[in-house]
Amino acid sequence: MSSETKQILTTDGIPLEVSLKKAEKKNKIKAFLLVAPLLLFLIITYVFPIGEMFSRSIDDKMITNMLPKTFKEMEKWDGQELPSEEVFTAFYYDFKVLVEKQEHGKLGQRLNKEKNGFNSITKKLFRQVKRKKIDESTSIKKQIMKVHKRWRNVEYWQAIKRTAPPYTMSKYLKGMDMYYAADGSIAQVEEDRRIHRILWLRTLEIAFFVTLFCFLMGYPIAHLLATLPMKYSNLLMICVLLPFWTSLLVRTASWMILLQQQGVVNDFFVMIGLVADDNRPEMMYNKVGTYVAMTQILLPFMVLPLYSVMKTISPSLMRAGKSLGGTPFVAFWKVYFPLTIPGIGAGCLLVFILAIGYYITPALVGGASGTLISNQIAFHMKQTLDWSFASAMGLMLLSGVLVIYWIYNKLVGVDNIKLG
């Protein structure tokens, strides 16, 4: 035998490998074409918007584009004392261009966000430039410094320099109630203005408890579904799935009817004498309402994965556990429960992730103390129109979910998830 491997040829004399590749290529192309529409759909509706959101959330190019010459000269400035004549000159020419384009107002507004007081001094400078009072043949620095005393204050120039980078993390910091201080370090918002952190914590808390309630209620239901004879379990399954067939809005609205102070539940409590008529408890527009409605709405997402896992557990395992001497509880805890963990993992992950980004239900029944971070995102999208901030918070939510998924993967392993 020769040491070199012989090439195997097909009957036509083509090498086998080439022939195989050729034969498989067709199938590969076919397979790709079949999934191509879905791929395209995902790119358009998922990857692209997320990328867009990301770039919007860190975008800070406005001033960078408005003051190109200034920032170029500022590179040489150490930022400790007032900038040099060149910086002032460059700023003047940049500003002149803006005045011609009538964009000086935008600059003032944007800089004002960085440091209060910019609005008025840019307006003053604008009037000077408009009336051509600035003599370009002598020192521009001195003339600008004369316009307003703040132009002589180094802090304002530092503020301009801070806006130089085209990208900023300030929106993300704002989402965590932090901001860039004057010296560029990260500082905390005063304690009484930290609204976002409260919202994040509340979102986590509500998502956690909704998941817990769903688990506590869903586990027995799923077990019943998996063990009942077919004719009863089908009926029960329909009851579980019924919420899926009703509009989310309708379901939330019906909870409003039930839970309001003059609502059905309160009427019933009064009727059986549990509460006094003039002391009806508030069960809506607070956390209670959010808990009740969200648990009911998300329950099927817990029941279905649990059911599909429980269905596969042979009843003889529990019997074996008992016949070997385990009490019913031991047999359940040592045998049945560990086998349902994949379902528990899938159900909890599903419910938690859905709950953490829930919007419409908390918005309608949550009131002030029952709203979640997603309501805040919607608020910034619709009311303040600060889309970049909304995008930043959306991405923070997304990365939070990914972190939870990662932790879950580390603890239990994603292979253990069973969704159906």
Binding site: S314, S316, L317, R319, A320, G321, K322, S323, L324, G325, G326, T327, P328, V330, A331, K334, V335, P338, L339
Partner: protein, 361 residues
């Protein structure tokens, strides 16, 4: 050691699931200590229900079950101390072999050292030493079966129940496992109640066999007697192969009776017929009929060969005999001098004691 002949006792047990049909009817069954008893029957005959009642997963609708003289109907399964091997092994898939075997010991709060010793012993008994850390999914069917047997025995139960434990194995493995279980039983002397629908399994393994049909025990006897002396036509039909003749008793005296068939008469052994005029089914094992009988056999007929099927160790010959073309003969292949050809006429004979006149089908 005095053995209790009524170690397990079913006392007039009835069982109904829906209140309309009795699955088990008036069951009276005593099982001796250390006995290997098999409940054999077609599916739906009530044998598994009996096992489940003994294990405690079903309660008798009427009657009592006694274990060593104590009524156990109200004792929950986990307090009965009965080991059980399930149809699909029911090994805990999330536990290693060791943990599976340790489970019954751990719930009994046995010490760690003791657990190790017992698990070791049980595993070596089923020749699976060294498999402690494997997961059940990493074992073959036969190995899983052994683990299940070891687990049912590891806590030294008084009774072990086996519910068609070999049903999922292939034929060769099943046969070797039959011997293995039989030997384990012989060496530790535990009482075994075994359920199967496979008659050869039952015949191989058991001390006694209870044949179930229609919720009732049809016959309870040792394997040889069950095969040789079936008491009714169901048992004769269910156990082994069987040639049957339907006819009417025309004469009966002592241990012989004359049965009139469609156009001939044969002599038979009256088992369940008492008087003239009764309808009967005569049952004859294929190997009891001989070709060219030399001895004085009291039934001698001539038949025509319809089909010859070669089976390796023996040849099956289908004959047209006494108006029936379904008469089967088993001829051992040692007699090479025999030339069997289709449509050849041959002489057949059998003893009337082997032809058992049973209840009509």
């Amino acid at each position: 050691m005095s053995k209790n002949p009524e170690f397990v006792k079913f006392d007039k047990v009835d069982k109904s699931y829906d209140g309309k049909v009795l699955v088990v009817k008036d069951l009276q069954l005593d099982i001796a200590e250390g006995e290997f008893i098999t409940m054999l029957g077609p599916s739906g005959s009530g044998k598994t229900t009996c096992l489940m009642m003994l294990a405690g997963f079903e309660t008798p609708t009427h009657g009592e079950i006694l274990l060593d003289g104590n009524i156990i109907s109200n004792i929950p399964p986990h307090k009965r101390g009965i080991g059980m091997v399930f149809q699909n092994y029911a090994l805990f898939p999330h536990m290693t072999v060791y943990e599976n075997l340790a489970f019954p010991l751990r719930v009994r709060k046995v010490e760690k050292n003791e657990i190790d010793k017992k698990v070791d012993k049980a595993l070596s008994m089923v020749s699976l030493s060294g498999f402690e850390t494997r997961m059940p999914a990493q074992l073959s069917g036969g190995q899983q079966q052994r683990v299940a047997v070891a687990r049912a025995l590891v806590f030294d139960p008084a009774v072990v129940l086996m519910d068609e434990p070999l049903g999922a194995l292939d034929k060769n493995l099943r046969e070797s496992m039959q011997y293995e279980i039989k030997h384990i039983h012989e060496s530790i002397g535990v009482t075994v109640v075994y359920v199967t629908h496979d008659q050869s399994e039952a015949l191989t393994m058991s001390n006694r066999i209870a044949v179930f049909n229609d919720g009732k025990v049809q016959q309870l006897s040792d394997p040889a007697e069950l095969y040789e002396k079936p008491v009714n036509s169901f048992v004769a039909e269910f156990i082994g192969e069987n040639n049957t003749f339907n006819g009417e008793v025309v004469d009966i005296a002592n241990d012989k009776c004359k049965v009139k068939l469609a156009n001939s008469e044969i002599l038979a052994n009256p088992i369940s017929v008492k008087s003239k005029g009764e309808k009967t089914t005569v049952s004859l094992r294929p190997e009891r009929a001989l070709i060219n009988p030399t001895d004085k056999m009291d039934n001698m007929f001539t038949g025509k060969i319809e089909e010859v099927i070669y089976h390796g160790d023996h040849t099956r010959v289908r004959l047209n005999l006494l108006g029936s073309s379904e008469f089967i003969l088993k001829v051992p292949n040692s007699t090479s001098n025999l030339e069997l050809k289709v449509s050849q006429d041959i002489n057949i004979g059998w003893d009337s004691t082997d032809a058992r006149a049973l209840d009509p089908k």
